[in-house]
């Protein structure tokens, strides 16, 4: 068995509002808000790295868990915006935490990376003990603020989130996870070497609008949990309209879906864990019902996870 023990997050201090994005992309600030629901995002400072963001989130998570880095048995780091082809940020984060020698695994699978990491952590926790899952991204460096790229430039922000999965105890047991991939649409959302992020937004919306609710429904169905009984849905913060769409598909009130995309934009692999950290900080009491996580991203990779 495996349990959710704590979450953590880190957001860079610099705030980029729609007026700033409008000036850089040629888009209208009101149009950006209407299209995305995003009001502000955070941009990392020049001296920050994906690993340094991840370290901040890791320390916040460990503080919330009442643990130290020496209590970790395995580190899983999801990022699609790391500075190098290899190594990824996992080993650097491990070194900064003072846990050299422990396995540190990179999951470079974009927005669904943290969800995949949590599902893997649930399987690996019985062997490794405490598994720290981190999602860290500096997306502001992989989008190009040129008018022809405005549809992606306006969406993304920087940040990091973390989740401690424990084999011993926590506030919720991870009961099940559903993971899936579909390479037929690998070209629809990708980050090539030496090129800005590319996204065929219409294809991605079409695919995500169907795949996310279907994954959640299948997962809840096999656990015999009515969607109406779920306390909160913690979803990858990709697009406010998409989150609303998923809620409608599941016939669940929109308020049941935690949302902070308006503050941080789409932080890819980090977003779901940042949302989880903020939600948990606001709701520290014992759970009143199951918690569902869901994510979708380039690959395509998507899935859902339920804990209660």
């Amino acid at each position: 068995m495996a349990y959710l023990r704590a979450f953590g997050a880190y957001l860079p201090s610099r705030i980029a509002d729609n007026a700033e994005l409008a000036a850089g992309t040629g888009a209208d600030a009101a149009w950006i808000l209407q299209q995305t629901g995003i009001q502000t995002r955070r941009f990392a400072a020049a001296d920050e790295s994906v690993a340094s963001l991840g370290v901040h989130a890791a320390k916040d998570c460990l503080d919330n868990a009442g643990l130290t880095p020496r209590d970790i048995g395995l580190l899983l780091v999801a990022s699609s915006s790391a500075e190098h082809r290899f190594p990824g940020p996992a080993s650097a984060i491990g070194a900064a935490l003072g846990i050299n020698g422990l396995p540190a695994i990179d999951l470079p699978i974009a927005s669904a990376g943290s969800l995949f990491g949590m599902a893997l952590a649930a399987q690996l926790a019985p062997a490794y003990g405490n598994v720290l899952v981190i999602g860290a991204e500096i997306m502001s460096r992989v989008v190009q603020r040129h008018p022809s790229y405005r549809d992606t430039a306006i969406l993304f922000g920087d940040g990091a989130g973390a989740c401690l999965v424990s084999a011993e105890f926590g506030f919720a047991e991870i009961r099940d996870a559903l993971l899936a991939s579909d390479g037929d649409f690998a070209e629809a959302l990708r980050l090539d070497h030496d090129a800005p992020l590319y996204m065929d937004g219409r294809t991605i919306i079409m695919q995500a609008s169907r795949k996310i609710p279907r994954a959640i429904s299948e997962l809840l169905g096999r656990q015999r949990i009515p969607a109406a009984d779920v306390q909160v849905f913690l979803m990858h913060q990709a697009n406010l309209n998409l989150i609303t769409r998923v809620a409608q598909s599941l016939a669940v009130p929109q308020e049941r879906f935690f949302r902070n995309i308006q503050n941080y934009g789409n932080t890819s692999a980090a977003s779901m864990l940042i949302a989880a950290a903020e939600w948990r900080a606001q709701h520290p009491a014992p759970l009143a019902g199951p918690v569902v996580f869901a994510a979708f991203g380039g690959g395509l990779h998507w899935g859902a996870l339920v804990a209660k």
Binding site: D184, G201, R202, T203, I205, M206, K211, L242
Partner: protein, 77 residues
């Protein structure tokens, strides 16, 4: 009602206005439908024509105009 008329009716219902485009004009580039309306349209097409549109066909190219939608529906019938 023929297929094209049924498709036009679905598009008009989703966009909330009469469709004045030629059958081969883009529904997206013209602003008639956005990405989310496209998803609703796919569901409406499945219901109206009693077909199942697989994930592998969920690309805007297949649904970019009334003519393309009609051709797709024909291919699935």
């Amino acid at each position: 009602m023929n297929k094209q008329a049924k498709i036009t009716e679905i598009v008009e219902k989703l966009s909330g206005r009469p469709l004045t485009l030629a059958p081969d004009e883009s529904l997206f580039e013209s602003g008639v439908l956005d990405s989310f309306a496209l998803t609703d349209m796919v569901s409406a097409l499945e219901s109206e024509f009693s077909i199942r549109i697989p994930d592998s066909d969920l690309t805007p190219r297949k649904f970019d105009s009334v003519a393309r939608i009609e051709a797709y529906i024909e291919s699935r019938s």
